[in-house]
Every structure is written in C-alpha cells, then in structure tokens.
C-alpha cells in the first residue's frame, strides 16, 4: 500500500480538474438560484469522465475502481465546492446498493442515466442508529430515493423532498417523506457500515476544501500590501500559514490512509483530523483575507460553510474520537 498518488490517479485528477476549471466557475451565482446543483456539469462528469460508476463493478457497467480513485475525485470536487451529487449518489447511495446487490439500479447509476440518494440524515453518526429523514443531502436531485427501516434498504419511488434553507448552500439538505405502502424492498443493509464508508471518503473532500483555502490565502497574502510590504512577509502571518500547511500535509496523509485501508481506526482518525482541519483552515482563510473575506462576493464563505457542514456530517470529530477510545486502548 502506498500513501502517494499513482500515475492513473493523477490522470483522473487532471481530467476532473480540467473540466471543473472550465465549467465550475459560477458556484456563487448558482447557489442563489432555484437549482443550486449544476446538473449539466454532473452529466458531463458522470458520463464523459465516468465518475458516477467509479465504485460500481464492471459487471454492472461501472469502472470497478477503488475508493482511492473516488477519493481523488472528491478532493477535486471539494477544491471547487462543485455543486454535483457525486458524494451522495456515487458514494453513499452506491455503497448501500452494492451491499444489497441491486444490479439493475447500479447499472442505471453507472451509466449516469440516474442519480440516487440515501434518505438518512447527513448529520447521522456511523456509531449510532440514525432516526428520521430530515437533513438529507442530495435527495432533491435524485431519481432513486432509498430509505432504511430496521436494517432493510427500500426504494421509495413516490418520495417527496422538502428542501430547507441550508448552511451549506452548495449541498442543500431537506426532509424526505413517503407513504408506508410506497416502498420496494431491496435487502438487508449494514447502515453503520455504509455511513462509515462514507466518512472514510468524506475526508478526501475535506482535504480538497482545506487545500483550496490554504492556496487561495497564500496567493492573497503575497499580493496584498499594507505598511508598504506584502502582508505575507509578516511573521505573524507566516507562522500561522506554516502551521496550517502542516495541518493540511497531515490531512493528506490521513485521507490517503483512510481510502486505502477503510479500517475503523483509519476512518475515525481521518474524520477526527480532517473535519476540524477543513474548518480551521477555512476560518483562518476568512481572517487572513481581512475585510474582503467577510463579503458575500468573495467565494471563501462557500468553503467555510461546506467545511462546517461536513464537520458535522457522518459523525463529528468528537464522535470519531470517542469511537477511537476503545479501538486504541484509551477507554475510561
């Protein structure tokens, strides 16, 4: 196992990044419209680059790739706060469908014909049985809505989704409702396992968010002059950025380790670290941008909101540390 990126992974990154550079330039304008998701971009990503079927085996028309490749895609999507349902459809819902072997549905996802969502609160922790269908992400753009009742996965064709005004405007959440006679049984599913898998991969998205915040702040402090010097020449700023860099370096190692190992310790470690690092780097990005960082017109707030929302998603850092206690010999 390596914690470095393979040449194939770098190729995939370039393909995704080039597309996003070209097409994902108006997130700020888009999030205030009726459709915050960029479904045209999603179509291109899922069909032309094939990201929708990355985790789906070749027998169902997917690429049969590993979570390592999905992690690279998530890093890039995080870097652009790209409003596409990759994480909710191609990671979380796909993992649930893989568990029950729902071949027909997986084939539709793999080709990019359909998008799915797992109607479990995005704020649910992998360490507790979640309840309710509020705070669900990605269901508003899903053709296939899945729910879990008593450890059984169902498809609910007639599901309704009511969006709420969301902290993360690039991945809004809503409440899913459906009638009791309105569901198709797909099979038994290990929901904590699915959420844990999601948590392991979410660390890569958090890494991408943190990397954008760090790089954008570095670019800014090199060109912003006060006292006739770039503000990035002051030690008070430099030392802060050196510490942030070191946090991001370690977030990269943690993210790579999580998608390579997928073990409970690797997952909990990556979430406990990366979730906080993304928030911390985004917060410092706002601060180090000074006045402009507090304005609506500067995109850094989109990253802060994404970072804060994903800090809570799929277990808070505290939930993951609590889980580590018994795994590493630090129980009370």
């Amino acid at each position: 196992m390596t914690l470095l990126y393979s040449p194939d992974e770098e190729d995939l990154r370039s393909a995704v990044r080039d597309l996003l550079k070209d097409r994902c330039t108006d997130v700020l304008a888009r999030v205030e419209t009726a459709q915050p998701y960029d479904l045209d971009l999603w179509k291109t990503l899922s069909r032309e680059i094939g990201v929708a079927g990355l985790l789906i085996p070749e027998e169902y028309g997917g690429a049969g790739a590993t979570p390592r490749e999905a992690g690279v895609v998530l890093e890039e999507l995080g870097r652009f706060v790209a409003p596409v349902p990759f994480f909710t459809s191609s990671v979380l819902a796909t993992k649930a469908l893989l568990e029950v072997g729902a071949g027909e549905l997986l084939e539709r996802l793999a080709g990019g014909e359909a998008t799915a969502a797992l109607a479990v609160p995005f704020s649910a922790s992998p360490y507790r049985i979640p309840s309710g269908t509020a705070n669900v992400a990605g269901a508003d753009v899903a053709d296939i809505v899945l729910v879990v009742e008593d450890g059984v996965l169902y498809q609910v064709p007639g599901a309704r989704v009511e969006l709420v005004s969301s902290l993360d405007m690039t991945r809004p959440v809503g409440t899913v409702s459906y009638g009791s006679g309105d569901k198709v049984r797909l099979g038994e599913v290990d929901l904590p396992g699915v959420l844990g898998f999601g948590a392991a991969l979410l660390a890569s998205e958090q890494l991408g968010v943190a990397e954008w915040c760090l790089q954008t702040t570095l670019d800014y402090v090199k060109t912003r002059y006060q006292f006739a010097r770039p503000v990035g020449s002051f030690q008070a700023i430099k030392h802060r950025l050196a510490d942030l860099w070191l946090d991001v370096v370690r977030a990269r190692a943690a993210a790579r380790n999580a998608v390579s190992e997928l073990s409970p310790i690797a997952t909990a470690t990556a979430q406990a670290w990366n979730a906080d690092v993304a928030v911390h780097v985004a917060e410092d990005a706002v601060q180090l941008h000074g006045g402009i960082g507090m304005t609506w017109e500067h995109p850094v707030h989109l990253y802060l909101k994404r970072a804060k929302a994903t800090q809570i998603a799929l277990g808070t850092p505290g939930d993951h540390r609590e889980a580590l206690a018994s795994l590493v010999g630090l129980e009370m």
Binding site: G232, K238, H239, L241, A242, T269, A325, L330
Partner: protein, 380 residues
Amino acid sequence: MDVVDDFLRDHPADDRLEFLRARFDAGLAWVHFPEGLGGRGWSRDLQQEVDEAFKGTPQLDFGVQAIGLGMAAPTILAFGTEEQKRRFLRPLWTGEEIWCQLFSEPGAGSDLATLATRAVRDGDEWVVDGQKVWTSGAHHARWAILVARTDPDVPKHRGLTYFVCDMHAPGVEVRPLRQITGEAEFNEVFLTGVRLGDDLRLGQVGDGWRVAQTTLMNERVAIGGNPVRRGGGMMGPVLDAWREHPEHRSHDLQQRLLKIWVEAEVTRLSGVRLREQLAVGQPGPEGSGMKLSFAKLNQELSGIEVELNRDLGYDDWSFRRSESVDFFGRGPGYRYLRAKGNSIEGGTSEILRNIVSERVLGLPSEPRVDKDVPWKDLPR
C-alpha cells in the same frame, strides 16, 4: 533477502566490530550509498528490508552514533573528496569513531550564520579559535563537523567554511553543560589555537553555509524521524500509564489524550508518506514540518504523562554525564523536561516556521538589515 542471507552464511557474528566492518565492506550498511562506501547505489527504500534481514545480528548504537550517521555522513558523501569519504565513512558507520557537531555558539543560535569562531589559514593548515555550545556527545567524539568564519570582511553567509575537526587535537577542551534535567548530555567546547590540516576542509573555502544546509536538512529529518509503529514513540509510555493506572484516569485526560492520539497518528502517517517520497532523492524543506510536529507532540504527551501519573517525585537530579542522547529514557519527569529541548535543538520551532513559510510556501522574507553588511560590521 538473498544477498543478506549469503552474507550471513559467510560471516558469523562472533566479533561485533569485525561483523560490522564486513557488513560495510559488503555494501550492506547504507544501501543507497555508492559501492565501496558501504552501499550498493540502491534506492533508499530498500534499506528497511535490509535492516529487517539483519535483525538479531550486531547493531549500531544510534544513541551515540546519531550525529555521525544522520548529519556528518550525508554531508561527507555530498561534499567530501574521495579520500575523505574513504577515510571517514567506514569507522563512522561501524561506530569505531564517534562524531559530534560544532555549529551553535553562545552568540549564534537561530542566527547560525553570524557565528564568530575563526579559522585562519597558515600554510597547509588552519588555526581555529572560538567557543561552541550545545554539543551533544563531544565527550565521546573522535571527530566533529565544524563551521568556522574564514572571511570576516564579507556578509555573514559568504565568509564561512566547513571543516572536519580533530577532537583529539591540542587546544580542544570539552566541558560538560548541565541541563534542566540535571544531567549533562551537552557540552561547551573551547577551541584555542587548534591546528587542522587543509585536508580536513569539506567543500570550498567560503562555501560553508551551503555545506551546512545539507547537514541541517538531514538533522531535521533525523530529529523528526517518526515512529513507524502506530502508538510508538512518546505515545508508548503514555498508553502504558493509562492502562496500568485506571485509578488515575479522568474524562479531561481522556479527551486530551484522544485528541493528541489522533495528531500523533496523522503525523506518523505523514512521516510514512514523506519517507516514500524520500525513497528517491534528498530530504527537502518538508522535513522541517515533521520536526515541528514532533516537538509539539513530545512536549504535550510528556506533559500529559506527568499529570496522568500524579506523582510529584523526580527520579534523580544529580549532575551526571549522559552516555547517549535519549529522549525517552528514565522517568516521566525526565521526558517532560528533555522534550522542552525538542523545539530548540536543530532549529527552533519559530525558525522552522520561517523556513516552511519561505521555502515551501514561497512567502516573502522579512526585510533584512544584515544581508549585505560585512560580518565584522554587524552589531553583536
């Protein structure tokens, strides 16, 4: 590993020194070094496999040899003449000759380039006068790596030259320097009219700063070299104390320990990643980052360990000589106090943040008042 198996079949390990010499001569010492100098020109990442295959055979003493192996050797390899490499590397590796480092001075710590120890040319020799400090292991050392000022009339970085110093030469005086732990691991070294042959110069006259950078990069990697095992390093004794003393546990300590466990683990993983990158080529300034994390972790962990033990004692304050550099030895109180040095030795954490921000992140340096001024005119 076949080559190691063949070697072990032909070389019984009855005599420790003979065994190590033979291992060096077989090119199985540091395999990324060139043939004839203890290596085979292999990739660095094969070293671990080779070391693994030599398990159970006579080993090096890293506590005493650390400076030789981690700093002197890579510098000699990069800048030494063929003769110097042949003369020094073998006994350095086998531990027959111990090395120390004569860099820091009372007036030159973070600002190492301002150092004042003078080396004046006298025919084929150099005459060295000055005072060095923070010299670990000088009392064991046969040789030292030394940076001295050979030209006071040019700006400070340009007037330095790098030497190998004979620690047995007349005029070298080593005095123990007692530290906050009570013991004397370090020394101050007084150099009075010490005569060094020009064949002990490493690199060009006036090029000492560049040569020293190689040493310092390697030092930071050596100090920041992280435990490969999860829960290793300074985490080990803390986890032991947690397991052995359930009566001392508290929610507060548990929360803090879990946080630092995560930080130690992601730092370890970065170390693994950095080593993968190092497998090709030389350590870059990224190594400075590992040393920063290592210092912070050791200090926090050792502090928590003292709290966790709830013991107000200290094992021994008596003034004694340390046999080797040891961050982990003795009790929790010693570890706590010794770890304070981790953010000072090998570049303070503040200097390392400057290095990271300038060399890795490309941020501009602070305005410098000393850059173009001849060293002799600098305020000191």
